[in-house]
Subunit: 158 residues, 2 copies
């Protein structure tokens, strides 16, 4: 199993690190972490015992959540790289939010093994990225998703 | 605030009641419950304190999960009604799984208030239903989603 050394979420400013999916400061959350694997992006997550659809299979909402945060993290990685930075260098990354999320559940996903979300990022416009994500278990493909992520608007700041 | 007396999930067979989103037997889950409101379907859920995107706003993955389970529940309600049954009458309802899930996040959703998912169900084919769902907080629309739900295939049974 790969280990992600440098994830984009590790360097989000504290005020932006509370996401239930990928915020390092949200104690009850999933703590999804997303990094580069060559030109693709990678998030690895092992669902908890309670993340069931039926016994033996992963809850679809967890897979949707994984694709969602993997998408915003991947967009942040891509814009950060475009700006000349890599995670782990200590530069504050951009923060994205999800405009739309599409998930196709191809087959029931087995529970009890790590899931790997692998993404390909495409710039649509300087503040808007599309991320195509495939979710694997044991190197078999179980779900495919697409996220359109936009740089966080000021309406998200109170 | 409306109270749902008869939810379809209350009558799923025990073996199908473990979903993290809507399974009444999954102690750690969300316990989404979906019923009829006239010709539309309704799920009401108040996100937990940890279900944050940023402080003050609801995590998108939770909204996606709500739309997902609301979709499968709504499809089950529709097929159950087509078969001549209503929840609360004690007849075992059909169980659906999600083939695809699309969510458009229209505006940041405020945290700390009940969310109402309201669905319109359309039969695509006797075992396949489309559910269009709108998610409201304080009667304002914050997200719109679409689920294609299919009668659970036997590959989900171990």
């Amino acid at each position: 199993m790969e280990i992600l050394n440098n994830a984009i979420q590790d360097e989000y400013p504290d005020d932006f690190a509370w996401c239930y999916g990928c915020g390092r400061l949200n104690e009850a959350g999933h703590h999804f972490r997303t990094g580069w694997q060559g030109e693709q992006t990678l998030t690895i997550y092992t669902p908890k015992p309670e993340h069931l659809a039926l016994p033996g299979f992963v809850y679809g909402g967890l897979i949707a959540s994984l694709i969602d945060c993997h998408g915003t993290g991947s967009a942040a990685l891509a814009l950060h790289r475009k700006n000349g930075h890599e995670p782990g260098e200590g530069n504050t990354p951009p923060r994205f939010v999800t405009a739309s999320l599409n998930v196709n559940f191809l087959k029931p996903t087995p529970h009890g093994v790590p899931l790997k979300a692998i993404g390909n990022v495409q710039e649509i416009h300087p503040k808007k990225f599309k991320v195509i994500t495939e979710v694997f278990a044991h190197d078999h493909l179980y779900a495919r998703g697409e996220v359109v992520a936009v740089v966080m608007p000021t309406t998200f700041l109170r």
